[in-house]
């Protein structure tokens, strides 16, 4: 669908160099990297706002490297959303259709259709300046999708939103994808966001793409220390849901059962991706009492790294890799060393289902 080859782009003193990046039809590709990695430059080049020095961008088999943006059928949603303040929501969404000379009734039908899906029908007559952050985001997405583009480029779409709103919008994007099915390249610095939304993630650092793969694979097998550090020890676990009980689910991971916070729509038999942070994992040397709100996993200490007043432990538990951050005090008190058998303990509320597939 989108094929990028040996792309070199200069932006001021910064140079972007992408050897290769392919995004399949209907795929949701997340480009993840820290600020200044060149993610926005990459999107702007794909959108046609920047000219590369060399290399090729092919969309649907057509070389668009030097085509103007309007001839690419790629919708760009910039970080500031760029909604037009002199227009209503309806006018914003319908702009791309009207510009194509589409019949008035057809324009109206299409705008109504997408607004229905986006649940923004009640906002159509509003000025965009009066909308909330989440509403603006939806309008920008509707404006991008209504023209049925070959792909949508999203630049940090969730970074300016309150946490709660961002969470909702994430589920919303997945829902819309199921309903409309679009190809996307989504840029973020947040590894959880990447894991939650991305079919694949492309890790970007200093203007280069260093690793591409399924989020859980990249997280488990980072090609370099730099990539690993982007995840900040984030733990992703994938398993099958064996029990749903109100807000909690039991997930089977390689034969081990973990209780985690559920997500809307989780059903028994589905696959769940669970995120966990190292600082939420406690270490016991003797087996503690197991409860339904607490997970206990027997592990072996694989590696120990001291980080100032904290100690970072790498643990394995029958093919599962965990990490834990504990204080130097408890590290010394527990007399931990490499190869020792310990019990990793974390609350059900510390493990969160971030992604679900039926």
């Amino acid at each position: 669908m989108i094929e990028i080859e040996k792309l070199r782009v200069r932006a001021g003193s910064f140079t972007l160099e992408v050897e290769e990046l392919n995004v399949g039809r209907g795929e949701y590709m997340v480009v993840m990297g820290p600020n200044g990695a060149g993610k926005t430059v990459l999107l702007e080049t794909i959108a046609g706002f920047r000219r590369p020095i060399s290399g090729k961008i092919v969309i649907d088999g057509v070389d668009v490297t030097f085509k103007p943006p309007e001839k690419r059928a790629i919708s760009f949603v910039p970080q500031n959303l760029a909604l037009w303040p002199h227009m209503t929501v309806f006018e914003n969404i319908s702009y791309g259709l009207k510009i194509r000379g589409i019949d008035k009734n057809e324009v109206k039908r299409k705008v109504l259709e997408i607004s229905e899906i986006m649940k923004i029908k009640h906002l159509l007559d509003r000025r965009v300046t009066t909308l909330s952050g989440g509403e603006k985001q939806k309008v920008a997405l509707a404006r991008a999708l209504v023209i049925s583009p070959k792909a949508v480029l999203l630049d940090e779409p969730l970074s300016n939103l309150d946490k709660g709103v961002a969470e909702k919008l994430k589920s919303f994007i997945k829902e819309i994808r199921r309903e409309v099915g679009f190809t996307a390249i989504h840029v973020t610095h947040d590894p959880i966001e990447a894991a939650e939304l991305g079919d694949r993630v492309a890790v970007m650092l200093n203007g280069r793409i260093l690793q591409v793969g399924e989020p859980i694979e990249v997280m488990r097998n980072p090609k370099s220390l730099e990539i690993a550090s982007l995840y900040g020890g984030l733990i992703l676990l994938k398993g099958k849901i064996v029990e749903v009980n109100n807000e909690l689910v039991k997930v089977d991971i390689n034969g081990k059962r973990i209780t985690a916070l559920s997500k809307a729509g989780c059903k028994k038999g589905g696959k769940a991706l669970i995120s966990l942070k190292p600082e939420d994992i406690g270490i016991f040397t003797e087996e503690p009492k197991m409860t339904s709100l607490r997970n206990v996993l027997e592990c072996v200490i694989e590696d120990i790294k001291e980080k100032g007043s904290l100690v970072h432990l790498t643990l394995t538990s029958e093919g599962m890799r965990l990490e834990s951050l504990i204080t130097r005090g408890s590290f010394e008190h527990l007399e931990l060393r490499k190869g020792k058998r310990v019990f990793a303990v974390f609350k059900a509320s510390a493990a969160r289902v971030i992604s679900y597939e039926p």
Partner: protein
């Protein structure tokens, strides 16, 4: 919505008094001459002038030519304003300086320059078969010369205030450069463009020096004030001035009210 703390400075008594005192001096400085003007003209003088066909037609001509000059300045100034707002290139400072030049040179000098360049026997005039001397065209040319900087500079500020992403996104959803310019850039800069047009109009109507040199006739009100001052005396000139003042005020207030809608 105005927030309470907007007015924190002016709530301090000492500050308020100081600021108001200086502000009053400025207002008085501007109003006193006008008051003298109106007093010397007198009610009868004003009534008499408004009955003068010559006076009325000169005022009308001022506004006609002013509107045309301001509109031309805006229409031809917009592309230049856009380039200056969006591009950085070598010599940009020089071009910006050239645009502001009409603001600093004496307008008699501007008039002489226009007359030399565009008279009917000059190379450009004879080529196009036109001439600025003693014609409406000359009045408009002189007015445009002095009012263009306002039209260009205000439009430029308007364009500069538009985030580039607003234009880029329009391209990405399918509009070509011309469409984006007319549907996004111009409407978003419209407020500034209109203010620029108003300022250009105001400047055009008030012009004397350049017009007198290029096209004394057809006579516009500002030139007529000068003529009456030299031939009929102070009282007649004051009468015409007052009438012109009232007209200008009405037009400006009317336009601003329209604009606010």
């Amino acid at each position: 919505m105005k927030l309470e703390y907007d007015h924190l400075l002016l709530r301090s008594k000492g500050f308020l008094i100081t600021v108001s005192a200086v502000a009053s001096i400025v207002i008085l400085f501007l109003l006193i001459p006008l008051a003298f003007l109106i007093t010397i003209a007198g009610w009868e003088g004003i009534v008499e002038t408004s009955a003068s066909k010559e006076a009325l037609s000169s005022i009308l001509l001022s506004f006609e030519a002013g509107v045309i000059a301001a509109t031309l300045s805006v229409l031809f100034g917009i592309p230049l304003a856009y380039i200056l707002a969006r591009l950085s290139f070598r010599g940009k400072g020089i071009i910006s300086g050239l645009i502001d030049l009409p603001l600093v040179i004496p307008h008699t000098v501007a008039g002489i320059a226009i007359l030399l360049a565009y008279n009917s026997r000059g190379p450009i005039g004879s080529l196009l078969g036109i001439g600025v001397e003693d014609s409406l065209l000359g009045v408009i040319a002189a007015m445009s010369f002095v009012s263009a900087p306002f039209a260009i500079n205000f439009a430029r500020e308007g364009f500069e205030a538009i985030d580039v992403s607003l234009e880029n996104v329009a391209r990405s959803v399918g509009a070509n450069a011309f469409k984006v310019f007319f549907t996004i850039s111009i409407p978003l800069a419209m407020r500034s463009i209109i203010v620029g047009w108003l300022m250009a109009l105001a400047r055009a109507i008030s012009e004397v020096g350049a017009i007198m040199i290029v096209a004394y006739h057809p006579i516009v009100s500002s030139v007529l004030v000068y003529e009456w001052f030299t031939t009929r005396g102070l009282k007649a000139a004051a009468g015409l001035s007052t009438l012109l003042l009232i007209f200008s005020l009405l037009v400006l207030i009317g336009l601003r009210a329209l604009h606010r809608k």
